[in-house]
């Protein structure tokens, strides 16, 4: 995902002329937001609420992109701009070459048939069976009974509920309801799937199975997925790209692994530490001092990723320092398919030891952060 830079398609056959306007359709991005602002409320400034403030973002074609933020950050509004459920106050939202804001009601309906959507509370019709729920978008599109049957049955099999076709939503578990929601969203063979907190109402285990299903659909059908969530876990598990949204602004965006390992913005960091378990235990945090006094130990967070994740660096550290090293907290995770480890260690804050440590870090490329000192 590129931020504030829209990748231009390469000129065909060595054409030299530069198109007068930036072309809407891009081979690399499925959705682009250009300086998008959304305000709610009255005409005067006081009653107005700015939900989105100058969003520039591009969603890569064929990828799973996550938009993460706390509740009220504007992510629900952002995803609803893509299929025109909300209209931008200013700026452009372009979906596969089509500017959403410029569409008529009819044009908007055509677009929506190419963009599937799944919801936090599933939004299945209680009066219809699983089969008939999946059939609904096809009925709306005007397909005949036979065509609908041919389309729905394989979709229900795809989401693994072939035996639950005739059940009503009330007879299904939350995870099963979301699977039917996914089948329904795929019924019209969309090119883009929008996921609005699709796993937020599910338990962790069911969340993982739904995420695995989304990942499989993304891989098998080549479907672009744009999801919003407040759970880092979701982004970490399936999104290859991520954008962090806070108070209506994108504060950080890029490849998930890069954003996670190099988090700069405070919002990203706080969302991260909860998800990665890199929060220090309370008994350490309350005893932490900013400056060392004689005999204190220094607390250092070592971060392993990329090449350093696979080497026995902790064992070597102990040998190199020639001092006691104790491990206080640690975690090893997988982010967007890449290993990531974080280890909090303590050793004597003696200048000689620390200098040997610094040399070791420089030589191995370990990324470190001094957290403080304890007695």
């Amino acid at each position: 995902m590129s931020i504030k830079v829209q990748t231009l398609p390469e000129a065909p056959y060595g054409a030299v002329s530069i198109p007068p306007e930036q072309p809407l359709s891009s081979p690399t991005s499925m959705v682009t937001f250009e300086a998008v602002t959304k305000r709610f409320g009255g005409a005067d400034d006081k009653s107005q609420f700015t939900a989105l403030d100058g969003i520039d973002l591009s969603v890569a074609r064929g990828a799973i992109t996550g938009i993460i933020g706390r509740s009220g950050a504007g992510k629900s509004t952002l995803i609803r701009l893509v299929n025109g459920l909300e209209k931008a106050t200013s700026g452009r939202v372009v979906v596969d070459g089509v500017e959403v804001g410029g569409l008529s009601e009819n044009g908007l309906r055509d677009l929506r048939r190419q963009v599937g959507m799944i919801f936090q509370h599933f939004n299945l019709l209680s009066s219809r069976t699983a089969f008939d729920n999946v059939a609904l978008p096809l009925e709306i599109a005007g397909l005949d009974k036979q065509a609908i049957r041919a389309k729905v049955a394989p979709l229900i099999d795809l989401v693994g509920l072939g035996d639950k076709s005739d059940r009503y939503p009330a007879e299904l578990s939350g995870g099963q309801k979301q699977r039917i929601g996914i089948a329904r969203a795929l019924a019209t063979s969309p090119k883009l799937l929008l996921s609005d907190e699709a796993t937020s109402a599910l338990d962790p285990e069911t969340t993982q199975s739904i995420l695995a299903l989304l990942k499989r659909i993304n891989a098998e059908l080549g479907l672009t997925v744009l999801l919003i969530t407040h759970e880092m876990e979701v982004v970490k598990t399936i999104a290859s790209d991520v954008a962090v949204i806070d108070r209506g602004k994108i504060v950080e965006a890029g490849r998930t692994f890069d954003v996670f390992t190099g988090a700069k913005h405070e919002t990203t960091r706080s969302l991260l530490s909860a998800a990665l378990g890199t929060n220090l235990p309370e008994w350490i945090r309350s005893n932490l001092k900013p400056q060392p006094s004689a005999g204190d130990r220094v607390l250092v967070r070592l971060i392993f990723f990329g090449a350093t994740a696979f080497q026995p660096l902790t064992a070597r550290l102990v040998t190199e320092l020639g001092a006691d090293v104790n491990i206080l907290a640690g975690t090893i995770e997988e982010i967007a398919g890449e290993p990531y480890g974080s280890l909090v260690v303590a050793y004597p804050a003696d200048p000689a030891v620390r200098e040997r440590a610094e040399r070791f870090y420089a030589a191995t490329g370990l990324s470190t952060e001094v957290l403080g000192y304890v007695a």
């Binding site: 459920l85 309906r109 019709l125 209680s126 009066s127 219809r128 609904l136 709306i140 299904l172 019209t188």
Partner: protein
Amino acid sequence: MSPDMLFALLSKALWQTLQMVVAAGLIGSLIGLPIGVFLATSGKGELFPAPVSNRIIGAIVNAARSTPFIILVVAIIPFTRLVTGTSIGTYAAIVPLTVATIPFVARLAEAAIREVDKGLIEAARAMGATPLQIVFKVLLAEAKPGLTLALTLTLVSLVGYSAMVGAVGGGGLGDLGIRYGYQRFMPDVMLAVVVVLIVVVQAIQSAGDALARRFDKRNRKT
């Protein structure tokens, strides 16, 4: 009164009541339901936004509902005569009963439709549904149990209202009870009328409940 005579009186009155309740219920619902759909979908930012019409029709519905039924019966006599050619008798009584049913059904239908989860409307919009498709495939389908109960309540209320149209010679069970039971001091007739009314109301309610339960798939157990 001889049992034969009582039976003859009762069956005639029951037939008149059923005629009035069924005809007024049917016509009143056919007109009231679309008005209810309009009231439930024409607010600001809803499917067919028309806030001004919504408020005007809402006000008319309120006015009609706050007019006491017996006054409505008398007040619309010219209209009744226009429709049926007469202002007395069972057929004539169907007119004010229908007029009273329309706003009643409209408000009940509005309430039943507003009960439908807004998320379903959003999901249907996200599928590219037209507002009319949303009304028929989502709102009416999902509100079916609620609408069934609303119609049941309407029919039961109509049984009660129909007792008042004796004032214009509408006949029916209520009229029989007033004229024979009360004015002629015949407690046996009064008792028989009340028993028949209880049975009629009970039958309507049970049938409506059963139907609503069948339509309601929300509380199925796995």
